[in-house]
């Protein structure tokens, strides 16, 4: 970057650092002192889904979300690096942590060893499992629990094949030391078993009880599971003597602050908003942009944050069939859709043209559209004349028609697809829309029998997975059937590269390449909003501190009960 820019940055940094020092005491006096107690009622990002599983052995993606309050992991997000505390990370990403914002949760420190390639993890001392009648007595966490948890995952019949292939063995060297020996390096090593979806550490007493029964769940975390009413609510109560602390205003506080945490499961949107307005929900994490105005009017004291959806919307085209085998056709369709108008008219301005397959939150991996080569920028510019020309060149001067499958379960898609169809019709391309029920829709993709057009949303997960799961040959989430052996090799290389900066560059190049090849009609990504009442303190809209794991975030929230009472709730 330029000199002036660098200077500005340094100055800015200095200011930011100086401010708390200068007004440190004043800030400490001004900021309210945390209180203990109260119940936090939350409508999470997955408010419409009840808990699907309580046992890590099920390999269920949502497990961390529901168990992350009691089953802790080796690593987790370093929430001190959040914007709320003066850092730069927002922690919105659903399954990604920036490498400079990972801290050891159950692990205190770790080091790499060569020959053989291994990681030696040292666990924190004094972390306790509370007593659970019928399951276990209170005792300290040891390396055996970590090894037990890993083995249990590895031997599960529901395990994702090849997931732990990079690991040769896991063993406990002594009471607090775990050694992971690798067959080869894998860039996702800490994600796959560390802070990812399948990294929960359970006590070894789980072997003797029915781990699927929620009544037997017990872990080292800040809250324990107290009640589960399926499709209605999940209640967690504070773990006495929990090990972690939080530093606020110079003082160190034991966690967690609140006594009880309740997840509400509410399928209906109108009901969610009503409960937020009436104060029965303290926070609602996922709110559509179109209702924000009304909520702001009817509940003006609510605090807000907004984040770009961690899921891309697109129309996939089967590149293994005519006419989509021809890249000109695919690029033409991209140019025929007025994406700017979709942003301004359909999303009311609350969307971004480009956020998939790479997300702006992935610092270092993301390149904004204006930095991209002209051939990519072209795909996001409305140019029906050029589209027609390309189609004619490819042999379709009068356009063509094709079938598009869409899930009738998504009202948003049922609205958006006809809009896209309208644009495409103007260049002579007719869509034959086939709405399908959810199970049938999903099955069409997994059995690779989907129609030439397939309209869907797909989550990013993280910078590497986002590309791998959709654009590598034969993957489940690859409805366009994109297959390029050279591209597959590049992906493999990414996993073997140890230097993150190099990986970032490789992935940036791969993003540009796939955007250019246009197996999808790339569509804009909307913003989503989070709202919470002002008595919810020490919270700034952070969503995940691991892979779909908000536990540590909720542990740090405290409720200003006097304020709540004064406001009349």
């Amino acid at each position: 970057m330029t000199r002036t820019r660098l200077m500005a940055r340094i100055l800015g940094l200095a200011l930011v650092l100086a401010l708390p020092l200068a007004g440190g005491d004043a800030a400490g006096q001004g900021a309210p002192k945390p209180q203990y107690g109260g119940t936090l009622e939350i409508g999470t990002v997955y408010v419409t889904l009840t808990a699907l599983s309580w046992d890590p052995q099920d390999w269920n993606w949502k497990l961390n979300h529901d168990t992350g309050m009691f089953y802790e992991q080796l690593f987790a997000a370093d929430l001190d690096k959040s914007v709320r505390k003066g850092g730069k990370h927002k922690f919105y990403a659903d399954a990604w942590l920036p490498s400079d914002a990972i801290r050891g949760e159950l692990a205190e420190r770790w080091e790499w060893k060569e020959n053989p390639l291994s990681v030696v993890l040292h666990l924190r001392k004094g972390i306790m499992f509370p007593e659970k009648p019928g399951v276990m007595k209170a005792r300290e966490l040891t390396a055996e629990d970590v090894v037990f948890s890993y083995d249990r995952l590895d031997k599960s019949p529901k395990k994702i094949p090849t997931y732990f292939d990079h690991i040769a063995k896991v063993e406990a060297r002594d009471k607090y030391t775990v050694v992971f020996t690798f067959k080869e390096y894998n860039a996702e090593w800490d994600y796959r078993f560390g802070w990812g979806y399948y990294s929960a550490i359970v006590p070894k007493e789980m072997a003797a009880v029915d781990a699927k029964n929620w009544k037997n769940a017990v872990g080292t975390g800040p809250f324990q599971l107290a009640d589960f009413v399926q499709s209605n609510s999940q209640t967690y109560v504070k773990t006495p003597g929990y090990w972690d602390t939080e530093k606020l205003g110079g003082t160190v506080y034991k966690l967690p602050f609140v006594d009880k945490l309740v997840y509400r499961t509410i399928k209906d949107e109108a009901t969610q908003h009503s409960m937020l307005r009436s104060g029965k929900l303290d926070m609602l994490e996922s709110i559509r942009w179109s209702v924000v105005d009304n909520l702001k009017k009817s509940a003006p004291q609510l605090k807000w944050s907004k984040w770009l959806n961690m899921s891309g919307t697109f129309l996939a085209m089967r590149v293994d069939q005519k006419p989509f085998g021809d890249i000109r056709v695919r690029r033409a369709l991209n140019m025929a859709v007025n994406k700017q108008e979709i942003v301004s008219a359909y999303y009311g301005g609350n969307a971004e043209l480009f956020a998939y397959p790479m997300h702006p939150d992935y610092h270092g991996y993301f390149e904004p559209l204006d930095k991209m080569p002209a051939s990519v920028k072209e795909l996001f510019t409305y140019d029906p004349a050029k589209a027609k020309k390309l189609l004619a060149e490819a042999g379709y001067p009068n356009g063509f028609s094709f079938k598009v499958q869409v899930c009738s379960c998504s009202p948003d898609h049922m609205d958006l697809l006809p809009l896209v169809a309208g644009y495409l019709e103007k260049v002579g391309v007719k869509l034959e829309i086939q709405p399908m029920e959810y199970g049938a829709f999903l099955s069409a993709m997994t059995t690779k029998t989907n129609a030439p057009g397939y309209f869907m949303n797909n989550g990013h997960t993280n910078p590497t997975t986002s590309i791998r799961k959709s654009f590598v040959t034969g993957q489940t989430w690859n409805p366009s059937q994109y297959s390029d052996p050279a591209y597959d090799r590049k992906m493999q290389e990414v996993y073997l590269t140890r230097d993150e900066t190099k990986r970032q560059q490789m992935l940036r190049e791969m993003t540009v390449e796939i955007l250019d090849k246009a197996p999808y009609v790339w569509l804009p990504t909307p913003y989503i909003f989070t709202a919470w009442w002002p008595w919810v303190q020490n919270y700034n809209g952070e969503l995940r501190a691991g892979a779909v794991r908000p536990g540590p975030i909720y542990a740090r929230i405290w409720i200003d009960q006097e304020m709540k009472k004064k406001m009349g709730f």
Binding site: Y346, P418, G422, Q434, P435
Partner: protein, 298 residues
Amino acid sequence: MTTAAAGALEGLPQEHGAFTGFLLRLVRKKLLGAASAVVFVVFLLCGIFAGVLAPHGMNEINPINRMKPPSLEFPFGTDNLGRDMFSRILYGARLSVIIGFCAAGLATVISVVVGVTSGYLRGRFDMLMQRLVDAWMTFPDLVILIAVVSVVGPGMPQVIVILGLLYGIAGSRIVRGAVVGVRENLYVDAAQALGAGTLRILWRHILPNVLPPVIVLFTTRVGVVILAEAGLSFLGLGVPPPAPTWGGMLSGSGRAYMYQGPWLALAPGLCLTVVVYSINMFGDALRDLLDPRMRGTG
């Protein structure tokens, strides 16, 4: 012929002049019913002539015009994709007419056939029929609907057939109940004693006396089917967008945008309510007039 049977035949219009007479009676005695009939006819006409009456197309997406409140150009405003609500309501009337009448018709035919034969014949046939009805009615309709929708995809014919079957078989119990009651009447025994054949008895004696509840059943069913489709749309199993069924509009964009655009919900909601209400009131009035035993009262 007994007096009751003669009375039954009197209620049914026989010659040309009787129809006008019937209309006059309707207006004179059942004003509310007559008014409802007018609404009902307007609804039917709107449905049939929707193509001619509608100023815009059924699915003219135009994002520039989105969420406009009612005005001269757009009497009922526009929806979230810029489509004219008035036109969509008219086309929706057509869909509701088709779905309502077809499904209700199918249901009524099934109810009558099953209910009358089962209720009149009694004995083993009745036993078997009722057990089959039982078995059918225990099928959670959701399972059937999702099964059909998954295999064939969501659509109008599926909705009509499923709703027709479901309400038809369920309604057969009501018809059977009425037949059981009527069957025990003296004049049926008398007719049987006189040697009248089963079909003659069914046609001459049972059917006319069972007609009132059947008419009520049909008219209620039209309304119920339209409402049921709305419920199915809410669950995502109804006739899929962009089909402008009133239920679909109410449960979809009506609910989603109810703060920014109340007209998105008011238009289809009011139409639904008014039409279903009129159908029912009209059905009541019709039954009151046609029932042989109601004649001469009030």
